[in-house]
């Protein structure tokens, strides 16, 4: 079982490295993160035995990541909207994000 997961992780690593060299603009970050999440879930589910553990342990595992998302989401709300709104209308610069 450990061998299968190990090979899957290597496959994903190869995939994400090759995908990095493909020019996709802003989608690159999204794909790289998606693959990273997939690898992390593999490690969590099999290596850290979340598969066999109680719901409570899974809740503890998910709590950390969920709270990190809160921090990232609400700071994103500020950073993505900050530049142009502050400058008054006379010379507003709608800088495309």
């Amino acid at each position: 079982m450990v061998l299968k997961v190990w090979l899957a992780l290597f496959a994903l690593l190869a995939l994400t490295t090759t995908m990095a060299f493909v020019q996709l603009g802003s989608a690159n970050l999204a794909i790289a993160l998606a693959i990273a999440v997939a690898k992390a879930v593999l490690v969590l589910w099999f290596f850290m035995e979340l598969k066999g553990s109680a719901g409570l342990t899974r809740a503890f595992a998910a709590a950390g990541f969920f709270w990190l998302l809160i921090l990232i989401a609400l700071t994103w709300a500020d950073y993505s909207q900050r530049r142009d709104v502050r400058v008054p209308v006379t010379i507003s610069s709608p800088r495309s994000p």
Binding site: V2, L3, V5, W6, L9, F10, L13, T16, T17, M19, A20, F21, V22, Q23, L24, G25, S26, N28, L29, A32, L33, I35, A36, K39, A40, V43, L44, F46, F47, M48, E49, S53, A54, L56, T57, F60, A61, A63, G64, F65, W67, L68, L71, I72, T75, W76, Y79, S80, R83, P97
Partner: protein, 214 residues
């Protein structure tokens, strides 16, 4: 020590060994939640600066060594697999196998640190280390900001890895000399090691892969 007979040896407050195991696992998971947020603050910093300096961070990330980064990720993933084997064999009472797998995990961990320090040396030669002699003229824009963040994140990760290697070697010796009280499993050590691996899984794309499509 106090003569509270019923309550001196550790674990007196647990009804039985199974509860002790559950409690230690839950305790480690709670600790890992704090570690997720501890590294999370760094990752949030990266995302916010990525919103502001998207292209500059990509350009700055171009200076990172992707080949070494990919090898390192492979090394760490393999060490995670070895740790999983070690936990599995230790719990099925295969003491010798557990020792070997733990030794392999520690060795791979040390290999990772070696490759990482070699990478640091290369970056030092290219004057990319902010505090020492960052070459401001050559690398404009947010490069210095990116490398400050890079050294904080990878430095902290390497520190966690070294602590992990210390514990793995300690556990390996304890199992070899059979001084480990039976029932005490190295599962929680495995959880810690896998967590350090997950942190690297998320740092890898942010540091190395971002720079390739600038």
């Amino acid at each position: 020590m106090s003569d509270r007979a019923a309550s001196t040896e550790p674990g007196f407050q647990f009804a039985d060994a199974a509860q002790a195991r559950e409690v230690s696992t839950l305790g480690m998971w709670a600790f890992l939640a704090t570690e997720v947020l501890f590294f999370g603050a760094l990752i949030a910093t990266y995302f916010n600066y990525r919103i502001w300096y998207g292209d500059e961070l990509i350009a700055a990330a171009g200076h990172t060594k992707i080949v070494l980064g990919t090898i390192n990720t492979a090394v760490l993933l393999t060490s995670s697999a070895c740790m999983a084997m070690a936990v599995w064999s230790q719990e099925s009472k295969a003491r010798r196998a557990a020792c070997l797998w733990l030794a392999a995990t520690a060795a791979l961990g040390l290999l990772f640190v070696a490759i990482k320090s070699y990478e640091y040396l290369l970056e030092y030669r290219e004057h990319l280390v902010p505090a020492l002699d960052f070459d401001g003229a050559r690398y404009g824009g947010a490069t210095e900001l990116f490398f400050t963040w890079y050294f904080c994140a990878t430095g902290l990760h390497a520190l966690h890895l070294l602590i992990g290697i210390g514990f793995v070697l300690f556990a390996a010796i304890a199992i070899a000399r059979d001084r480990l009280p039976d029932g005490l499993s190295i599962r929680i050590l495995g959880l810690y090691w896998h967590f350090v691996d997950i942190v690297w899984i998320f740092l890898f794309p942010l540091i190395y892969l971002a720079g390739r499509n600038g």
